[in-house]
């Protein structure tokens, strides 16, 4: 069950981090901002806040809750 739980979450993250996002991560997104300046934006991950059980799932960690 734990394995499936984790697999499913990671599969869903794979959907979120699609080719379009990877392209944006590597080469940036060109956006003309409201001040008229065109900038190249690079998305970067800064934080992922979650409760302990959810963090265990995302970080491929076996927490106490899941070793039962």
């Amino acid at each position: 069950m734990t394995h499936c739980h984790r697999e499913l979450l990671h599969a869903q993250w794979k959907v979120l981090l699609d080719d379009e996002f990877i392209e944006a991560y590597k080469h940036g997104i060109v956006v003309t901002c409201c001040d008229g300046i065109t900038r190249r934006f690079y998305p970067r991950f800064f934080s992922y806040s979650a409760d302990y059980p959810e963090k265990c799932v995302i970080s491929i960690l076996v927490g106490n809750l899941y070793t039962k």
Partner: protein
């Protein structure tokens, strides 16, 4: 009370309007309209083009040990995973004129200089004044450029948060949303719901023992793993199924 008085006034205004014709109300098919309003058609609402929500199904491999009837990996598909494209959310945020003024495109170091002491003190508080942001910004500037590209480069600090939420006091209706905040905004603005700085990215699906047992590809293995035949769904308490499955997995 106040609300009902206000709506009563509204109703009076409508009825007394010169354009109002009682025949319009009389001839409308109220039964049909109510039915349509009450009807549960989530697909139409979720997949609206403007909202940008997408729906997909996710398939994962489920391993079965060699003592089960059909060992090896079987595919299990979870339908209705709703999400929004991260790039489109970022693009939407960056082109919003109301957010532009408060969006920090470049990081800086913040210092506090008390009058009587000599050395200034570094103030840590915002993402865009943090060493991590500054380092990310520097790394970005150092990346090799194409000859034709002279656009300013900006870090978009993505801050995800997610928490499984119970929707009801009784029962087990749950949602597991994924939110996104931008670190380029001040924390004092991020935490104000009225600023609408939180974007919903996805609603994660969870593996449920019931749906796994019902899945055609896994059904045979699950039923053969048990020494008993599970009774019908209505008779089986959820917790006992979960316990049984956890023991077997």
């Amino acid at each position: 009370m106040q609300k009902s008085q206000a709506s009563f006034k509204e109703l009076v205004n409508i009825v007394s309007d010169p354009d109002f014709r009682p025949s319009d109300i009389r001839e409308a098919k109220w039964g049909l309209i109510n039915e349509k309003l009450a009807g549960d058609k989530p697909d139409e609402e979720w997949c609206e083009q403007d909202a940008g929500w997408k729906r997909t199904s996710v398939t994962i491999p489920v391993p079965f040990h060699r003592k089960t009837a059909h060992p090896g990996t079987k595919e299990y598909t979870v339908a209705d995973f709703y999400y929004r494209s991260l790039v489109s959310v970022i693009r939407e945020h960056l082109t919003d004129p109301t957010r532009h003024r408060h969006f920090h495109y470049e990081p800086y170091e913040l210092y506090w200089q008390p009058q009587d002491t000599g050395s200034p003190t570094r103030v840590h508080g915002e993402v865009y004044t943090s060493p991590t942001f500054i380092q990310a910004h520097r790394e970005l500037q150092d990346l090799p450029r194409e000859a034709s590209d002279d656009l300013p480069r900006v870090v978009v600090a993505l801050m995800f948060s997610s928490d499984s939420t119970h929707l009801t006091s009784f029962g087990d209706t749950k949602l597991w949303p994924l939110y996104l905040y931008f670190g380029n905004e001040s924390k004092y603005r991020r935490c104000r719901p009225s600023c609408h700085l939180c974007s919903h990215i996805a609603y994660f699906k969870k593996v449920s023992p019931y749906s796994m047992m019902a899945s055609p590809s896994l059904k045979v293995n699950y039923f053969s793993s048990f020494s008993f035949q599970p009774p019908s769904r209505t008779l089986l308490p959820r917790t006992s199924v979960e316990k049984a499955l956890t023991k077997h997995s």
